[in-house]
């Protein structure tokens, strides 16, 4: 980031190549739309590029990146209601009037069964996560999925470490209640 601050755009592209996929996935867990998640990730990197002159190496770059991304995602949630809106991960649906055939997956094979069960479980977890209050969801994802420390999560959410602990605890309780059958 120091190189970026000195005007090195190649260094910035390297940062983008290294972290962009994680940020797209992070945003996707908020907005449930791949194009929007990609846009949000790009917006986060562009914001960082614009503010590169003011960057101070007080924290890890990833903490700074997730702070910007979290703010963008929370703003997006405030502007639109994404709850329950999901789109298929792979392939696209047929347009009106477009003809096509769709082959059903052969569920007789054990791996496919497992795969489908996994997808179903993932969709269920996602549904429960989407119902969490945005701050709880952000704290949980940043800590559990992105692997940030409590202090880093607190920096991202501009709150205290004890508040983060409390947010994560409440989110964990809700998930445990809602997904009790999967945890046995």
């Amino acid at each position: 980031m120091q190189r970026v601050r000195d005007g090195d755009t190649v260094a910035f592209r390297e940062l983008f190549a290294k972290h962009s996929e994680a940020v797209v996935n992070f945003a996707y867990r908020f907005v449930n739309s791949r194009p929007r998640a990609e846009e949000l990730a790009q917006d986060a990197f562009l914001q960082i590029y614009r503010a590169r002159g003011r960057y101070q190496a007080k924290a890890r770059f990833t903490t700074y990146l997730y702070r910007v991304a979290t703010n963008l995602c929370l703003n997006e949630l405030r502007r639109f209601d994404y709850q329950g809106k999901t789109e298929p991960l792979e392939g696209r649906s047929l347009e009106n009037g477009e003809e096509g055939t769709r082959e059903l997956a052969d569920t007789s094979l054990p791996e496919v069964e497992e795969l489908l069960a996994g997808i179903e479980t993932g969709a269920r977890i996602k549904k429960v996560l989407d119902k969490l209050p945005p701050n709880q969801k952000s704290a949980l994802l940043l800590s559990r999925v992105e692997g940030l420390s409590y202090q880093e999560v607190a920096e991202c959410l501009e709150t205290t470490e004890s508040a983060v602990k409390s947010l994560i605890f409440r989110a964990t309780q809700t998930l445990r209640d809602q997904l009790a059958d999967l945890l046995r």
């Binding site: 983008f16 996707y28 867990r29 791949r34 990609e38 562009l46 969709a123 800590s143 999925v145 445990r176």
Partner: protein, 195 residues
């Protein structure tokens, strides 16, 4: 039981090793003594694994990186434009603005000077004393202001009396004088004046 509540808030952090080293020892000690909290710990570990493994992950679309490269290039170009200023910026350099302002001020001052010179050369026209009665006390050879409306109408601005043409300072709109005459006679309305 109160201890369990205090510990359970620390358990998610304990599972992923995110607690301060100072906070770890009491949690570990409590877990050795409390079966309920150990169960909770196992559930949190499972939940953690579920979140890591079962949450769907996506791969950005093929055009994602190139689209960002385009946006970044546009951003960099816009920044360069803003710093170098573009044609508008070049035109609005501080020294150009200063020069233009000085020139404008000089033109205004010259104009004002020229105007004041001209106005001091030209005699100020005397305005006839209307209240003194241009209409009431006519000069011997000046036409009388007709008291009847038909005659009044003949004396208009387009048809002024002959002495007015010789004395430009008296070249005033006669219809104004007529109206003043009406006002001075004390009758505002034309009907009573006509009588």
């Amino acid at each position: 039981m109160k201890e369990c509540e205090a510990i359970s808030i620390e358990l998610p952090g304990y599972v992923r090793g995110k607690l301060d080293p100072k906070a770890v020892a009491p949690v570990r000690a409590h877990l050795q003594a409390c079966a309920a909290c150990r169960d909770e710990l196992v559930q949190i570990q499972r939940l953690d694994k579920l979140l890591k493994d079962a949450l769907p992950t996506i791969t950005p679309s093929p055009g994602f990186a190139s689209m960002f490269a385009n946006r970044l290039a546009a951003e960099a170009a816009a920044e360069e434009e803003a710093t170098s200023g573009g044609w508008a910026g070049r035109l609005l350099q501080p020294w150009v603005v200063g020069l233009a302002a000085t020139a404008m001020l000089a033109i205004i001052m010259l104009g004002a000077l020229n105007f004041s010179r001209r106005s001091s050369d030209t005699p100020i026209p005397r305005i006839p004393n209307l209240t003194g009665g241009v209409a009431k006390k006519p000069v011997a050879d000046s036409p009388k202001i007709a008291s009847n409306p038909a005659e009044k109408n003949k004396l208009t601005a387009s048809n002024p009396p002959s002495d007015v043409l010789q004395r430009p300072e008296l070249f005033v709109d006669y219809s104004v004088i007529r109206d003043l005459d009406i006002l001075e006679s004390g009758n505002g309305d034309a009907g009573s004046h006509a009588g």
